[in-house]
């Protein structure tokens, strides 16, 4: 296996992102006990983060237990899981927060008890934690917008409907905001509507079908991975091969669709890498070693031209891998 590091990232510890390379410690000094909290494990994105976490925990020989809250509607459950983690006496906690703001009290409590907490993948309020690694969702939305514009011939009109994801989730709103910001740079691009909705394929399919009717002029669909997945079929059925589909994040389906040419592009933030970095950050915090306090993986738009160069093992877990919820140190 080729190692995932050194990984190209931005070091945003000081506030302004600076390009850097991330290299983990070879081993933990002791088999520490780490607690990992995820919003859910219901798509290949979070499975990819989990893969990074599990592999790195095994590599560094630490104990790891992963809890998933079952979805973004379960903030109270994540709060309870945080408490349960604290009660089990961990050396550090890694959190993929359902709501960074919503967990801020927990972070304070952990700090007061001296348990280091690392944020992974989902954005947090500035300086909420001693260490974190995530892409700013607004920035990631911007990247996808920029990617779309880059593939557009000058003078082409873009009539876009966005399908950011569930209203009230926070991340959907942020992605959307970033995307709109980027697209606003092109006077020929117009946002016709924003259609929030649960990020399941069935719900998104219905939204897209309706949007195809409500906005006959629509020629770009931008949205979540399930949106893109649903859109492929709906667009084919409606005979609108001129429609461009862009996904705001990655999963296995997006990769396949891109390879088939069904979608124009998707964005990635290298979730496997994020998981691995989080473990290393946690160990560094425990061992009081120097740590990059805010790591930002370099979000990228993947399209037909860039896909061959993509470092796949940082984007998705191997298809054969089934998630493990705990790792025991040897």
């Amino acid at each position: 296996e080729t190692p995932w590091f050194p990984m190209k990232v931005y070091d945003a510890s000081s506030g302004t992102p600076k390009p850097a390379e991330y290299t983990p410690l070879p081993k933990a000094e002791k088999p520490y006990r780490l607690c990992v909290l995820f919003p859910h494990m219901k798509d290949s994105f979070w499975v990819a983060v989990a893969y990074g976490i599990v592999k790195q925990a095994e590599a560094m020989n630490v104990n790891m237990n992963l809890y998933e809250a079952g979805g973004y509607e379960n903030l109270p459950k994540q709060l309870s899981q945080f408490d349960d983690c604290m009660a089990s006496g961990p050396d550090a906690i890694i959190v993929g927060a359902i709501s960074g703001a919503g967990l801020s009290k927990k972070f304070e409590e952990a700090k007061a008890k001296g348990v280091p907490v690392v944020g992974v993948t989902n954005p947090l309020p500035p300086n909420a934690l001693p260490a974190a690694n995530y892409v700013d969702f607004v920035a990631m939305g911007e990247v996808t917008g920029a990617g779309l514009l880059a593939q557009t011939k000058p003078g082409d009109k873009l009539n876009i409907v966005t399908f950011p994801g569930p209203a009230g989730s926070g991340w959907a709103e942020s992605f959307n905001e970033g995307f709109k910001k980027a697209v606003a740079k092109n006077p020929n691009a117009k946002i016709l509507a924003e259609k929030f909705g649960d990020s399941g394929v069935a719900v998104q399919l219905q939204l897209i079908q309706d949007a195809l009717q409500a906005y006959p002029g629509m020629n770009v669909i931008w949205g979540t991975a399930p949106t893109a997945e649903a859109a492929i079929g709906a667009v084919a059925e409606a005979g609108r091969s001129d429609l461009k589909i862009v996904s705001s994040y990655e999963n296995q389906a997006m990769l396949d669709a891109l390879n088939r040419g069904d979608i124009l592009a998707f964005a990635t933030q290298y979730p496997v890498g994020e998981g691995a970095v989080a473990i290393d950050q946690a160990v560094r915090l425990i061992e009081k070693k120097p740590v990059m306090s805010l790591v930002q993986p370099i979000a990228a738009v993947i399209d037909k031209t860039t896909v061959p160069k993509l470092q796949m093992d940082l984007v998705l877990a191997p298809a054969s891998w089934t998630p493990v919820y705990s790792v025991k140190a040897k």
Binding site: K42, D43, V47, A193, F196, S199, G200, L205
Partner: protein, 338 residues
């Protein structure tokens, strides 16, 4: 000579009340909605939009029919959403496995996948039925439990990752196919509605479902075997949910544990209740439930076509839903007193 004794009771009142009580004014409301939308937005009656509406309404109607049956028998099925998801992933997984085992043998692959999907639904239905009929736990609680458990199993199978590898023909020739100008799901739904209406009106099963929901004690002393029929309603409901899961899978082209969910469950109950099914049991007709499913689907479609802000859509949906049922209730009350 008997008729001379018929009382002062105005038969007309009963006639009107029955009509109001049995048909409701939902069909009228539906016509109004369709007419209004057609006037406002020509996109609405575009053929593609109509097909979309019909397909989505069909999927909802299939689940709602099963749900209605359970509610008429005095139960409640919260697990339908989870079953939709489970059936989807089980079908997809089985087909993928069969496709590697017997490559090219599409008939076998599809048959085994659908059998597995429907089978998984039947299992959940049997568990629900068993707990309700034999262990005498309330349907609400049992299906609340199996909802959680079923969703858990669906996720365990897939880890939430979509399942691919179904034969193309299943997707193109079934899921996205059209016959006589209508999508497969519509045909399936029509067949199911007709069969269910027939079952409700003309078979022992339908009759006993009404009897059990209307008054269990009376049904028992009349010699109706309760357990068998209660189990039957839950199995039918779960299998119809599974069928919806399969149709969705075929349409989307992948097995997804995100199908169905709480949303489908709430919608199916809403469709049944708005369609005049009494939560107290014993009352309700499948054809009105189907109309109600169509009504709810068109409502959602209309809000999208009218470009209503998607964050505000739930507010409109909620208000209209409550208003429709409240008006129905009020009209029934005033008619009862003619």
């Amino acid at each position: 000579m008997n008729t001379a004794l018929v009382t002062a009771n105005p038969q007309g009142a009963i006639g009107l009340r029955s009509i109001a009580g049995r048909v409701g004014f939902l069909p009228a409301l539906l016509v109004l909605l369709v007419a209004g939308m057609s006037a406002v937005d020509p996109q609405f009656y575009g053929i593609i939009n109509i097909l979309n509406i019909l397909r989505n309404a069909s999927l909802l109607a299939i689940v709602a029919c099963g749900q209605a049956l359970v509610i008429i028998a005095g139960g409640f099925d919260l697990s339908v959403g989870a079953v939709v998801a489970l059936a989807s992933v089980v079908t997809a997984k089985t087909m993928a496995a069969a496709a590697t085992a017997f490559p090219g043998n599409n008939a076998l692959i599809i048959a085994s996948g659908m059998a597995a999907g429907l089978g998984s639904g039947a299992v959940v239905g049997l568990v629900n039925g068993f707990c309700v009929a034999k262990l005498k736990v309330s349907g609400f609680v049992v299906t609340l439990g199996t909802m959680s458990a079923t969703a858990g199993v669906g996720l365990m199978i897939t880890n939430g990752i979509p399942v691919y590898g179904m034969p193309d023909i299943f997707v193109k020739g079934f899921g996205r196919a059209q016959a006589l100008g209508l999508p497969t799901a519509v045909h399936v739904a029509l067949v199911i509605i007709i069969v269910m209406v027939f079952a409700q009106r003309r078979t022992l099963f339908g009759r006993y479902v009404y009897a059990i929901g209307g008054n269990v004690d009376a049904a028992i002393v009349s010699g109706v075997s309760i357990q068998r029929h209660v189990v039957g309603t839950y199995v039918v409901s779960s299998m119809l949910a599974a069928l919806t899961g399969i149709l969705l899978t075929a349409q989307v082209g992948s097995g997804q544990a995100s199908f169905g969910g709480d949303r489908m469950m709430l919608q199916s109950i809403a469709a049944a209740v708005i369609g005049g099914v009494s939560l107290r049991g014993g009352v309700g007709r499948i054809e009105i439930v189907a109309i109600s499913a169509l009504f709810l689907t068109i409502l959602g479609n209309a809000l999208n076509l009218l470009h209503v802000d998607s964050r505000l859509q739930p507010v409109f949906l909620g208000v209209i839903m409550v208003a429709a049922v409240a008006l129905d209730e009020l009209s029934r009350r005033s008619k009862a007193r003619v």
